[in-house]
Amino acid sequence: MQELSFANKLSRFITSWFFLMLVWIAFTSTYATQELLTGAFVSGIIAMFSVPFFTCCDLSLFHPVKIAYMIWFLIVFIKALILSNFDVAKRVISPALPINPGIVEFKTQLKTNFGKMVLANSITLTPGTLTIDVIDDVFYIHWIDVQTTHPEEAFTHIAESFEKILLKIF
């Protein structure tokens, strides 16, 4: 693990603290002063100890453009999630069980581990695909209805709509 500068550490600390505080407020569901103070204290301690481990995000995450892309990603993702459920429902209900399974591979351009994880999770929840493994930058995807085994064509079918948004964020 590389040494971090103080500013970098502080930025990570503030980010973790912010998210922990959000979770705390959501769980207690009150704005009473003593609750908020306790929450700030506990979140502060946890964020302090977790600075070396939570490597995903720092303050650059709160750039307005990135936040706009995150909301856009959320919309695309929820749409894909609902579509995928209807897709699975259609396949399960139809008597002939129309599946043609197989495993395909493709490369991604994402660099950070967190970005790859988000992409892999999104792929799992989109129609007919399930991430089996990520080795370096190669994704192995189980596809319930294989249309092409060519890596680049598979990429345009499965991941392109997510990746081009994620590249803007991470």
Binding site: A26, V92, I93, N100, T124, L130, I132, T149
Partner: protein
């Protein structure tokens, strides 16, 4: 107002339970573990999300907790299915393939075992 919330909540719970039922049906009908995971993961994710959101609508004081639960489910469900699928492949249970060209339809099989295992350590 509360009647509207109750109607929305009840509808969401109904939708959630329908999707959970379809997921269970999928696990029963699909031929091998990967396809079962496909059906299971997607249906249970949206099903559980919708059900929890419905509970949140029925008693609005739990809404924030419900949202936190939904975020946790959205992160943990795909991860667990990925771990199961990967473990099955490393154990040598290859997916069922209807095409004649089995090698081409299973890109993960050509990855060396050492490479797969190495990922576990790092």
């Amino acid at each position: 107002m509360s009647t509207i919330l109750q109607i929305i909540g009840g509808f969401l719970i109904l939708v959630g339970s329908i999707f959970l039922f379809l997921g269970a049906l999928g696990i029963y009908r699909m031929p091998d573990v990967y396809n079962r995971l496909q059906a299971g993961t997607k249906a249970t994710t949206l099903g559980a999300m919708s059900l929890i959101l419905g509970v949140g609508f029925l008693s609005p004081s739990w809404m924030m907790k419900a949202l936190i639960l939904i975020i946790f489910i959205a992160f943990s469900n795909p991860l667990s299915s990925h771990a199961l699928a990967r473990a099955m492949h490393i154990r040598g249970r290859f997916p069922k393939i209807y095409s004649n060209n089995a090698e081409e339809y299973d890109a993960y099989r050509k990855v060396e075992m050492s490479e797969k295992k190495e990922e576990v350590k790092s």
